[in-house]
Subunit: 240 residues, 2 copies
DNA sequence: ACCTGAACACCGTTCAAGT
DNA sequence: ACCTGAACACCGTTCAAGT
């Protein structure tokens, strides 16, 4: 939570001589991007301004422009950082014994990421991707490369692999953008207006009123699993 | 395109006396919201400011605040206006003879709306809904009421109706947010940076390079139909 | 009743200047 | 080499003032 540090390979071991142990080592792009991720996670995207992010890093806003071309590109960088995180947790992990298991594991990795960063996931989901054939949220070239190779190894034809990639992305986008949206509201609310509907207004909708209980039941987790099952069955037909 | 007018019931017939045929009748909320829809459609959300919208209406920005509490609520209103459009085209239309046909027709109506307003659909899809159990993009109370009643009439149980509503919304969100995103880019591009990937960078990804042709094939339309078919089959099992 | 002018606190971004 | 101060052109929003 406090610091995303670790025994990383650029911090402690080989401090360049002459670079005194300053209280604040100079900025660099990665540090800015990670600070931005942290900032959005805790304060929400709408609060992120260049000036506030600078302050968060103990620096004036103008200093950021030496490492980042502008706010839009900063947000692109935030998306990349988060996707890299997905790549590492998912591709480093052990092998799967079947394509079904493989899809399950990838789906859950993306879901975990979406729930860990509910305020960033909308960015991953809706920012224009680097190429028109990339499908958010599965938008990292490395990731797609490995995913397609993975499917190939499980015996999918090239055409089938692409179809699977697309329907997988569509499924994750729909399911997780909704679920992340509900989490977003539970933390600090960006906007409180209209958050709930007046009871008297509701009475104009008898069916909704009658079904209030069923509608309120959350159940996102099992819903995700069921839809994933459905997708896998559809893919199985496609493969035969 | 130019004017969303028609023989509407507040324009010509009963002009209040004393209200001279001024070149610009006074503002009203609906006029502002419709102007905002038009503005986003042609210029994109990021260009919409209170000041520019005022100018578009021949008025200073401050005048808008008499009819709209602020920018956020203006955007909420834009979403509502667009959803009302959906309600009218979809619920006024004739009856369907089967629930399959009913779902098909509703799905295509939402798709048409998304493709007509590709720059507004992301708002419909991602703005927090009025209640946590509403699922964007199917977020209008009237619409949900009629949809649930429709399913009920086709013999779905209350629980099943809710499950169908949810998976239907998830499906539409994933499929159409992606498709709308591609249309958005084809019109005036908000941002051109990184729009396409350098060819040399691509060569680091052999599988992607090899599958370039399959990946580039658009085919959103048939993809939508296939996924819709799949959903309907899953719903059929659920119903039995 | 409806709109405007002026003002406030804030943006993103540029650029010459400081150390 | 790295950061800052001052400035520019813009925001959303408030409020007293105009007609």
């Amino acid at each position: 939570m406090a610091e995303t540090q670790g025994p990383d390979a650029d911090a402690g071991s080989d401090v360049p001589v002459g670079m005194a142990p300053a209280l604040r080592r100079p900025l660099d792009q990665m540090r800015i991007l990670r600070a931005a991720v942290e900032f959005i996670d805790t304060n929400g995207l709408s609060k992120l301004t260049m000036r506030r992010l600078g302050a968060h890093l103990g620096v004036e806003a103008m200093a950021l422009y030496r490492y980042v071309p502008g706010r839009e590109q900063l947000l692109d960088g935030v998306v990349e950082v988060v996707m890299d995180q997905l790549y590492e947790t998912t591709m480093a992990g052990g092998f799967s014994t079947s394509w079904q298991e493989y899809l399950q594991m990838q789906a859950h990795a993306v879901r975990t990421l979406a729930l860990e960063h509910p305020r960033i996931f909308p960015l991953v989901a809706t920012r224009p991707a680097a190429a028109p054939w990339l499908r958010p949220p599965l938008r990292s070239l490395r990731w797609v490369e490995d995913f397609l190779r993975g499917l190939r190894e499980y015996g999918f034809s090239p055409v089938a692999s692409v179809v699977v990639y697309r329907s997988f992305a569509t499924f994750l986008l729909g399911a997780l953008l909704l679920e992340a949206g509900t989490l977003e509201d539970l933390t600090i609310t960006d906007r409180v207006n209209l958050a709930f509907i007046e009871t008297d207004e509701l009475s104009a909708y008898p069916i909704i009123t009658e079904m209030a209980e069923q509608l309120k039941d959350g159940g996102y987790a099992t819903e995700f699993e069921d839809a994933l099952e459905g997708l896998i069955e559809r893919v199985a037909e496609l493969r035969s």
